[in-house]
Symmetry: C2
Subunit: 470 residues, 2 copies
């Protein structure tokens, strides 16, 4: 069975809906009842009559309607009987929020296996247990039991995010929202009793709203299927992976976290490499990479980078970082050099990295970006804007977006500072031009683009070889 | 001559003070005239009579008073004659803001050499040219020509920051202010015609307000003196260094930025290692390291780390990172394990990393932090707080600061999220407990503490050997 019922249910039952405002079952019910969710929402609780004005059903079977999705927020011990009810009612999908299963030891594992066994011959699909479930900003399915005043929900965007750790996911969503980063779908998979990363990759490959997928995992059980599916998906959209438990100590910690064997680091590393996943080395890189991969074009034939800056030091540092990562800086051609020479003040030198000097304004950026982006030697642009000078106004954002629209070459921006910088960064983010706080992270993001480009090329080469061999 | 006149002048002349609000000479004069700066301020400009209500002097010599510090914001070509005036007037210190010297080529280098020659036999000390000069939040000396609505000034703190790149410094100051990070003294040294990093290290070693020094350099000309002075300073306070131009390409870019030969990367690396400087690999690390080194105690005999978290995934990731950096996680002793077992809910496991589980509140943190910090096996604490659950209120900050005050062991915090997280992070920063957005960066900061600890131990060992040999 497909996963559509998780993301676009026509009706939802919240089993364990509560009247107490801090209880998970209350928050989840409220998310559906008071949002723009267009389906029907039914609270289920034998001990309540009304919640937020809604009639409460004592059990699932009393609901006089089909139920596509059940969200279960009950103590572990009685989840199994709720699943029985779902099966009787022909519910299509269930999210089990509850913890207290495999991650807590033998007793919990037993409870989990019981449920597992029961659903094998059914059509019911399950996400969880021990998870925070789903957040879909388009359909407004939101099983996050954390109140919005604590966990701000990010706006719709092109990045899908699958995580094995719920708290990790919650923290990142809250952060993403504060950075104006958009999400297409968020799924916390927890103990993966049924639906796992393989199923979700398959589903997200077809999701037209998603252009980049992020995955945090501590373990992958269906290794062979993962290799097959991931490899296919990556032909269509980039996959950024962060693996938790890559050291023996970390793997040990993972065991008591999601009850999963994290497995040998080099096996995972090799597998990710084989399928062409972009491996993040840390939490910063996850979104540093995803933001550029989701929205910026993959560079065409030419991959050399032009750096345009109004601060020399940041030019030096980003050149260092590019060199360290084996990224080549473009040599400007004669025409570009001539244009720059003619239009820059004589204390600025027309070379790459191009230091427009401290008194550069939007006009000078516009001139330089046009000259540089039209140069066939330039494949990618890094624009550094230090907006501490009063020459910089937010119209520099227009100069950058115009350049993007005109030349369709990938652009990333580096900008660091206080309030004004943050406003400018959000303006750029709105235009889908990813902005980074440090030059190293900006260059590193460009590197992710170049890595994915290489992955696609390798895949094409392999395909051609396979076809030729036929 | 000492550098006191730069940081605590009794009187300041701004040469090139202007009436036009965006001109450098205007902003700088305003910084002195309208701040809490306690000395006298004299605007010098032959073409104006009044600026901001102050009487303007046509030349330095007309000022009927001694001048300790002259700030020069004039076109490069006439700076030399302003320096002559400073010499005649016995000015003690001058900051030359103006660019257009060595960094622009031969002609500028000539101008620079002229000034250099002239001051060799005088008592006048010069910072610059091609710099943004000084920001001292205690004495309110502020030669930054960038208006405060663009470049917010950070509050007083314990970190001194020396930078060869002005724009880099300006951007970082603005950012530091937005993060509530305090600065003791900021000095942009530009082309280093006279005062350089060696002089400043010497001066800052004695500065009681400074507990950690940050240095961004592209080149060090007085290598031998640097080795001697830095080595001495580092016995008293940590020095964090970021070197620009560590690759041939970056070094080339540095040449046209500050007109300096960046030199072989490995020579610098070796030198920094030799004196015991903590080397930042990127801009993030500069302040990630400085924030912990400036305020947290150096761990004593025991250096093993305890990780306390309410999110398992972040426990896993930080354990991975610790393992990667060779940082050992502490084994809790029997007493600690017993206390934890008795006081934690039974779905939490009393081990390191210690996952307090999603429903942990301040009381559970307090209990756990007390148990863990009192354990002699624990040298350093990493406290991870994911405040997306409604169990976390800002009183968790009290639990953390109480733990610090009681046990005097180093603590760093990891917390990521939106508005509420940022408020909490600022509360912690106020209490001088450094807070990091990702677990990797928090562990990396702990590593900086351990690196400095090792530096101090090595220095002591060497001293003992030297003394024994006598």
């Amino acid at each position: 069975m497909g996963l559509e019922a998780f993301f676009k249910p026509k009706s939802v039952a919240v089993i364990g809906a509560s009247r107490e405002s801090r209880k998970f079952g209350h928050v989840i019910f409220k998310n559906f009842a008071q949002s723009e969710f267009e389906g029907k929402t039914y609270p289920v609780n034998p001990k309540a009559e009304k919640i937020l004005g809604f009639k409460v059903y004592p059990s699932l079977k009393e609901i006089p309607d089909e139920v596509d999705l059940a969200v279960i927020a009950l103590p572990a011990a009685i989840v199994s009987s709720a699943i029985n009810d779902c099966l009787s009612k022909n519910v299509k999908a269930a999210v089990i929020i509850s913890g207290g299963f495999k991650e807590t030891g033998e007793k919990g594992e037993k409870l989990e296996n019981e449920i597992k066994k029961r659903i094998t011959v059914s059509n019911l699909r399950i996400i969880g247990p021990n998870c925070i479930g789903i957040y879909d900003p388009t359909s407004h399915v939101d099983t996050l039991f954390l109140p919005t005043y604590r966990l701000r929900r990010p706006k719709p965007g092109a990045i899908a995010f699958i995580t094995q750790s719920g708290a990790f996911g919650a923290a990142i969503l809250d952060w993403a929202s504060s950075q104006d980063i958009g999400i297409s779908k968020f799924i916390s998979i927890g103990n993966k009793i049924d639906v796992d990363e393989v199923d979700l990759l398959n589903y997200l490959a077809e999701d037209s709203l998603t252009t980049c997928i992020i995955l945090y995992v501590e373990s992958i059980e269906r290794g062979r299927e993962f290799l097959k599916v991931a490899s296919k998906v990556i032909e269509r959209k980039p996959l950024v992976v962060l693996k938790g438990g890559t050291t023996p100590e970390g793997a040990n910690a993972a065991l008591s976290h999601t009850g999963s064997m994290a497995g040998a680091a080099n096996v995972y590393k090799g597998a990710f490499e084989q399928v062409g996943a972009i491996q993040a080395q840390n939490v910063d890189e996850l979104f540093d990479y995803a933001r550029v991969l989701a929205y910026q074009p993959i560079p065409k034939a030419q991959t050399d980078v032009a750096i345009v800056t109004n601060g020399g030091g940041f030019g030096v540092i980003s050149t260092d970082e590019a060199s360290r990562l084996g990224i080549k800086l473009a040599s400007f051609n004669k025409e570009t050099t001539k244009t720059l020479k003619e239009n820059l003040p004589d204390y600025a030198i027309p070379r790459n990295p191009l230091d427009l000097v401290g008194d550069a304004d939007a006009e000078r950026y516009r001139m330089a970006l046009n000259a540089v982006a039209s140069d066939p030697n330039v494949g990618v642009l890094l624009v550094i804007v230090l907006p501490q000078t009063s020459y910089i106004e937010s119209d520099v954002v227009d100069a950058i977006t115009e350049c993007q629209v005109t030349y369709r070459k990938p652009i990333v921006v580096c900008s660091i500072g206080g309030n004004f910088t943050q406003v400018m960064a959000k303006m750029l983010e709105e235009e889908h031009i990813p902005t980074y706080v440090t030059p190293e992270r900006a260059i590193n993001a460009i590197n992710a683009l170049l890595m994915y480009r290489k992955v696609l090329e390798d895949k094409k080469r392999k395909q051609r070889r396979t076809e030729a061999a036929k």
